[in-house]
């Protein structure tokens, strides 16, 4: 890394437009991320660089899987361990949640990481769920490969994946006994949505076409395509029709999924959800139309679609308008404070504690109970209880008061100005630039001065004179500003 941002009394902050792009398309603008943006010359250039995610080196995040060797168990091996009560489905789920959080904190491929989360929340499967847990890591790996490709490819990969078959009961959907669960949610949640006007016959046909994807749930979780269970005969679903005369229905399913991915109602639905994640809770109809248009024109290309969002005036005008979810809050705090997990040996490890920090604020990763994923709207995450717990958590993190082990904790001296003396007000400004990417407001300076019972003009002569207590109070107060809660 080049010169530290902190190596000056006033670290240079990124231009607000660059900061905005990085805020929205990452889990937190750490020092190294800010350096990447600066090196690429603009927020847009950084975004384009990030789009080619396989070309971005990311060794720390790629090492995380080594901490969770059981995640690589074959489904039958995972199931035998659960049967013998060596581990539980929840243990597998918890490993997965920790793994996912650690990658968010450590990853340098931040745009990719954010999109993995976006699709994982749309095509949602919870952690440690009985009928899907042995396949959950494999499902994640597939989403990771396709997160910046096309929605058509993602849909083909996810809908017939054994994890999805288990979770939404397609594994027991056969021609002799139809189970509508996946057939319905495919239409409602993953593609066209209710406004497209499908009816109950469409739902039934959708379920019929999806028959044949077998998973031997609670036996050995082996997955296969079972031609004897596939329903044969013409299906009509919205404007799609297929003779479906072969006992192997997979070609017909692919045609159906392609039809759905390319449907204008799907374009609008995906575009809107992306806009709610990246722009605002209430994106304008013209923004959604513009994004949907690119989605259709590019044959559901994800990068092209994101690019339209990032270049849109409504995106540029929406700076610091989205409230971070609890998961985003914990990951952002860790990143900007310079805290990173280094292993995951036991419950004292930072990699595990971050889960309980999120839980404390009301969002335990991958535990949303329904197939529609956590809400993407900011308004969901502004309950008074959540806000109180975030305020408290920011101090806990800044001081590592939960006593996390296996965590990088940068030395105070490395995160403070190198030119002394400076005033308390200047110190607050310095940390505000480092942690939030903007200068400290007057009320923030006053807040820290009041908490420490010192005047803003109080002179600090060296890094050694900043007490541990004062250091936590400053950094916690910066994260607790309204701007600190927003991305």
């Amino acid at each position: 890394m080049s010169t530290r941002m902190s190596a000056a009394v006033k670290p240079v902050v990124l231009p607000s437009k660059w900061q905005h792009t990085a805020n929205r398309f990452s889990y937190g603008v750490s020092e190294s991320l800010a350096a990447d943006v600066r090196a690429k010359g603009s927020g847009d250039n950084w975004l384009k660089w990030q789009f080619n995610w396989t070309k971005v080196s990311d060794t720390r995040a790629q090492g995380v899987i080594a901490w969770y060797p059981r995640l690589k168990d074959s489904p039958s091996a995972a199931w035998s361990r659960v049967k013998s009560q060596e581990r539980s489905a929840w243990d597998y789920g918890f490993d997965f949640a920790c793994y996912s959080m650690a990658r968010k904190i450590l990853g340098r491929r931040q745009v990719h990481e954010v999109m993995v989360d976006f699709w994982s929340n749309l095509l949602y499967i919870p952690m440690g769920e009985d009928r899907s847990f042995p396949w959950r890591y494999s499902y994640d790996a597939m989403i990771r490969l396709r997160a910046l490709s096309s929605y058509r490819s993602l849909l083909r990969g996810t809908i017939v994946h054994p994890a999805m078959s288990g979770w939404l009961n397609n594994s027991s959907n056969t021609k002799s006994g139809i189970n509508e669960n996946l057939g319905r949610e495919l239409l409602e949640l993953y593609t066209v949505g209710r406004p497209s006007g499908y009816d109950e016959d469409d739902v039934k046909n959708s379920a019929r076409l999806l028959t044949g994807f077998s998973v031997r749930v609670f036996e050995d979780f082996a997955a296969s395509y079972s031609t004897k269970d596939h329903y044969r005969g013409r299906v009509r679903i919205l404007g799609f029709t297929h003779a479906n005369s072969s006992s192997d229905g997979r070609a017909a399913v692919n045609a159906y999924l392609d039809y759905l991915a390319r449907h204008p109602s799907t374009a609008r639905r995906i575009a809107r959800r992306l806009c709610v994640r990246f722009v605002s809770d209430t994106p304008s109809s013209s923004l959604v139309s513009a994004v949907a248009k690119t989605y259709l024109k590019s044959d559901t290309d994800i990068r092209a679609t994101l690019w339209t969002i990032a270049r849109h005036p409504e995106f540029i005008a929406a700076q610091r308008k989205k409230v971070r979810t609890p998961v985003e809050d914990v990951v952002n705090s860790a990143r900007v404070l310079g805290m990173g997990p280094t292993g995951s040996s036991n419950e004292e490890s930072f990699a595990e504690k971050v889960i309980w920090m999120c839980n404390n604020m009301g969002q335990n990763p991958y535990t949303w109970p329904r197939p529609d994923g956590f809400p993407e709207t900011s308004s969901t995450w502004t309950s008074p209880a959540r806000v109180l717990r975030s305020w408290d958590m920011h101090y806990n993190l800044a001081g590592n008061w939960w006593g996390s082990k296996e965590v990088t904790l940068p030395a105070k001296e490395d995160q403070l100005p190198t030119m002394w003396p400076c005033t308390l007000g200047q110190l607050v400004d310095h940390q505000s630039r480092m942690l939030v990417g903007r200068t400290a407001s007057l009320p923030l300076r006053a807040a820290v001065a009041a908490a420490l019972n010192l005047p803003e003009t109080h002179v600090v002569t060296s890094a050694a004179k900043v007490t541990d207590w004062g250091w936590v109070v400053i950094r916690g107060a910066v994260l607790n500003t309204p701007e600190g809660m927003l991305r």
Partner: protein
């Protein structure tokens, strides 16, 4: 709508206010108000021992046909060859209905006439989408595009300036649609740690709290309001957290490892603390039984019954002012599917328990013969809003229910005193 409710509102408030003053309850409000300004001036009106409605959402679409079984219907047994429940297994069966055998923990309340089962209830039109049905159910005002839930309209109708403690979601920090709207509401997992930073050091906590107040008041918007609400909540919660977390009362045992039990335990503590809560929403997940209906409904009903039985015991003397109603987004299909489960259907059973309830089975039963079904499912003969109106009218006579559920046709079934 009937005008009978409109005249009593003001007088009711006045009399209650003076009652509270006489009871010396104004003092706590005074403390809070001096710290946090106008936000909390309504405290004194909120602090009370008035009636409480607990709305228990059975998320996922509970199978009413398994909970309140129409055992006289051949179609029920014919449609569910592996999952129907035999008549001789049912509890308290009459000529039409009987309770699922796992409701045993509610036996004492049933025998005291404090539990009503109401069948063929639901939305006016079928909606087999979890998410839309839930949204419609909780908004309950199809004529308006504003996202304001019926519980929010209920507490708005009960006080000129609703208090932050009037309506709450317990067990989840995400506010459900039923609570969304202009009246302030709270959603929380529990009542521990609802405090400002450094609350153990009052001087520091005040300095930090004042600075946060200044910053969030200046910020405005969604985050500004969130910060101010958080500060208001902390001021109130500090005064009550002790009494809320006292429970459960001696001898009361909630099922172990039950999220519903934990939420109801907090709810009971909150109600016993007399902070003026009027409506509590509690979510109980796990009712989406597409597979293995038999043992799954057994487990969920057993947990529900044991939690509710413990809850009413835990309320102690306050049980006399608490009514519980269960709601679910839809019933299940009559015919079982290929996985010994049931897919999304329509008409459903609702249960009302506790204060004011006249126990027994109620229904304008449409029957299950093929001509009486709606797309293969149990029809709805009672709008769920009519069921809720019947409860609200009995328990909150000051409330103009036509403002909570605009434009419905009210058809009481007589299950409330």
């Amino acid at each position: 709508m009937s005008p009978i409710d409109e005249c009593s509102c003001g007088g009711y408030e006045v009399s209650r206010r003076s009652l509270l003053k006489a009871a010396g309850l104004a003092s706590m409000a005074g403390v809070a108000t001096s710290m946090f300004g106008d936000v909390l001036t309504s405290t004194v009106y909120g602090s009370s021992n008035a009636n409480v409605l607990v709305v228990l959402s059975l998320r996922g679409g509970a199978d009413g046909l398994s909970m309140m079984v129409p055992h006289a219907e051949d179609a029920y047994y014919a449609s569910r060859p592996t999952t129907a429940i035999a008549k001789n297994k049912l509890l308290y069966a009459d000529s039409t209905f009987g309770l699922h055998p796992s409701f045993t923990a509610l036996g004492p309340m049933w025998l005291l006439g404090q539990v009503a089962g109401i069948h063929a209830v639901g939305l006016p039109a079928p909606n087999r989408s979890h998410f839309e049905a839930m949204e419609t159910l909780e908004d309950a005002d199809p004529g308006s595009s504003a996202r304001v839930g019926w519980i929010n309209r209920m507490v708005s109708g009960l006080a000129e300036s609703p208090d932050v403690f009037d309506a709450m979601q317990i067990g989840d920090t995400i506010t459900p649609t039923s609570l969304a709207g202009p009246a302030p509401t709270i959603a929380t997992l529990a009542f521990s740690d609802l405090a400002m930073p450094f609350s153990k050091d009052p001087v520091l906590a005040k300095r930090v709290g004042d600075s946060l107040h200044a910053q969030y008041a200046a910020a405005g918007g969604l985050i500004g309001a969130a910060g101010l609400n958080a500060i208001a909540l902390a001021g109130r919660a500090a005064a009550i957290s002790g009494s809320i977390n006292d429970g459960p009362l001696a001898g009361v045992v909630y099922p172990r490892h039950s999220e519903l039990g934990a939420a109801l335990k907090s709810t009971a503590g909150l109600i016993r603390a007399n902070v003026g809560v009027k409506a509590v929403a509690v979510d109980a997940g796990g009712w989406d039984h597409h597979v293995d209906l038999g043992y799954r409904v057994n487990d969920t009903v057993k947990d529900l019954a044991r939690c509710l039985a413990a809850f009413f015991l835990d309320l102690g003397l306050d049980a006399g002012r608490v009514t519980v109603v269960t709601l679910s987004e839809f019933g299940r299909r009559l015919k079982e599917n290929g996985s010994q489960g049931v897919d999304h259907g329509y008409g459903n059973a609702v249960f009302a328990l506790g204060a004011g309830v006249k126990g027994g089975f109620y229904s304008r039963w449409p029957g299950l013969s093929s001509g009486r079904q709606v797309d293969g499912d149990l029809a709805v003969t009672t709008d769920y809003r009519s069921v809720l109106t019947e409860i609200l009218r009995a328990r909150f006579p000051a409330l103009d229910t036509s403002k909570v559920f605009p434009g419905i046709s009210y058809a009481p079934l007589g299950f409330m005193r």
